[in-house]
């Protein structure tokens, strides 16, 4: 070992050690509890997680809801990111700050705010009744729609910032060149900007999807009893049912499902993305 690589190894030792202890070992524990019990190897937990009607339904529900959140975040966020990338100077800084600020406020606080807005005697119902649009309060909270609205509010800033990051690296000369050569702005956008921004779109969609899979607070606070997500079920297995093996197996199934969907997204959407090799990214 040379002197230099020994120093590098020394530098890495503590942070690597922590990551192994506090992240890798817990993952190993999850796998161990899913596949082993007192007697040895067992596929019972995984089998229950994959066949029990309730678990399968909650798992599918979690995947569908996460996909909806990811798709809506990208669709709602894209024009915002585009608008930010077109700005400059102090105005841009202010607008980016307006998007970043909510991201730092606790998820719990942000979800709680939706109870106040969507509650039976909440702000929205109050306004609708005051304006004479509805006669009696609408059922807004404890619905699937409430979970969607709150989850998107929690994750949208992240989607915008990732896409904005990708967009601000796009070489604008290419768009000007297309315009000079006679392309209308919409064509220049469709043929050049959109494919070049696709990597940002895919990254944010996949990240938002994976983060939504683990959502715990939002469904528990603003969703109805039928809108529970797999995280809530896992927590119940650990705290109440005390079936740790089953809880771990559900975790494994969630992780596997998440990885599969993320991989598929890359394969399907990746074909539409232009990359740095095509010369579109400013270096």
């Amino acid at each position: 070992m040379t002197n230099r690589s020994r120093t590098t190894a020394l530098l890495l030792a503590a942070p690597m050690g922590l990551t192994i202890f506090a992240f890798i070992l817990p993952m190993v524990e999850v796998i161990r509890w899913s596949f082993f019990d007192g007697q040895g190897f067992t596929s019972e937990h995984i089998a229950t997680a994959l066949t029990d009607e309730l678990f399968v339904q909650v798992l599918l529900q979690t995947i569908v809801l996460s996909a909806q959140v990811a798709a809506l975040c990208v669709i709602i966020g894209y024009p915002v990111a585009y608008y930010l990338s077109m700005m400059s100077g102090p105005l841009q800084r202010l607008c980016v700050l307006l998007i970043t600020f909510p991201l730092w406020v606790s998820v719990l606080v942000r979800t709680y705010a939706w109870i106040v807005v969507l509650g039976r005697e909440g702000l929205l119902n109050l306004m609708l009744i005051e304006l004479g649009i509805v006669g009696e309060p609408l059922k807004l909270i404890f619905t699937r729609g409430a979970v969607l609205v709150a989850s998107i509010q929690v994750l949208l800033p992240l989607a915008v910032l990732i896409m904005y990051g990708a967009m601000s690296q796009i070489n604008r000369t290419l768009i000007r060149a297309a315009r000079v050569l006679g392309a209308p702005p919409s064509a220049a956008f469709r043929v050049i900007f959109l494919p070049l921004s696709m990597n940002g779109v895919i990254s944010s969609a996949v990240l938002i999807f994976i983060l939504s899979l683990g959502f715990y607070v939002t469904p528990a606070l603003v969703g109805g009893p039928r809108d529970i997500m797999i995280s809530n079920v896992i927590a119940t297995q650990i705290n109440q049912t005390l079936d740790w093996g089953l809880g771990a197996a559900l975790g494994i199934v969630l992780l596997a499902a998440g990885l599969m969907v993320a991989g598929l997204t890359y394969m399907v959407l990746g074909r539409f993305a232009a990359t740095a090799n095509d010369g579109g990214i400013r270096s």
């Binding site: 202890f21 992240f23 998007i99 606790s106 606080v109 106040v116 807005v117 702000l123 800033p157 994976i210």
Partner: protein, 272 residues
Amino acid sequence: MKGTLWDSLGRSLLPLYFVFVVAYLVIPLLIVVPLSFSDTTYLVFPPRGFSWRWYSEIFLNPGWLKAFQTSLLLGVITAVGATGLGTLAAMAIVRFHRKTSFTIGAAFLVPQIVPAVITALGAFLLLNALGLLGTFTGLVIMHVMMALPLVVVTMTAALRQLGEGLSLAARVLGATPLKAFIHVTFPAVAPSLAISAIFAFFISFDELIITLFISGSHVTMPVRIWADVKQELTPVVPAAATLLTLLVAVLVVPIELYRQRASIKDRVKLQM
């Protein structure tokens, strides 16, 4: 003329759309503020009366005060621990060649893309096996791990931007590696260190799911709010929520402004 129509349409609608989305993101945060000053013992909109009673509740009620103190202590320890360890990792990462450097940097980010509930579950099982479940030590270890990725990203970017030139110059002029670090590298990256520490503090201060699984009798602020939201609907939760939002405003806004001025790239942060 389809193109120009779309163009002008976009130019006028886009700002409007932006305002609409920002309202969707920000207004829910502001709505809890008037509620926290309500004089009633139940939640009602619009709030009636004006009082500070729910704020004094947080600072006088032993349960809330303890939760606040636990969160502060945990946050500060996490900030120091994660910044220290993350900086060590970043110093190692920038020493590698491009490709290896990228791979090792990415490896440190993996904990961020695993759904929190799975990490929480694993932490619960591991700490239980080691007899650390419900201990403050267990909480510190998990919180530092959760905050580490963001520190690694921030410090790697800062050290890369600085380059090795200055520290090499110090070495050539006779400084030991330690001296070169203390007198040259450290002052140059001090702002990024401060930023990392504050980010790490907030990751710990806001963490709920993992804490809920492993904290035992150590109640943090989010755990306390969580229990209250589900049980009673007094304006004490809006008061706590307002305090937390205010803390973000005071600490994070100046940092974000500074960061934006410092660099346009490397802004996207991974959280949650």
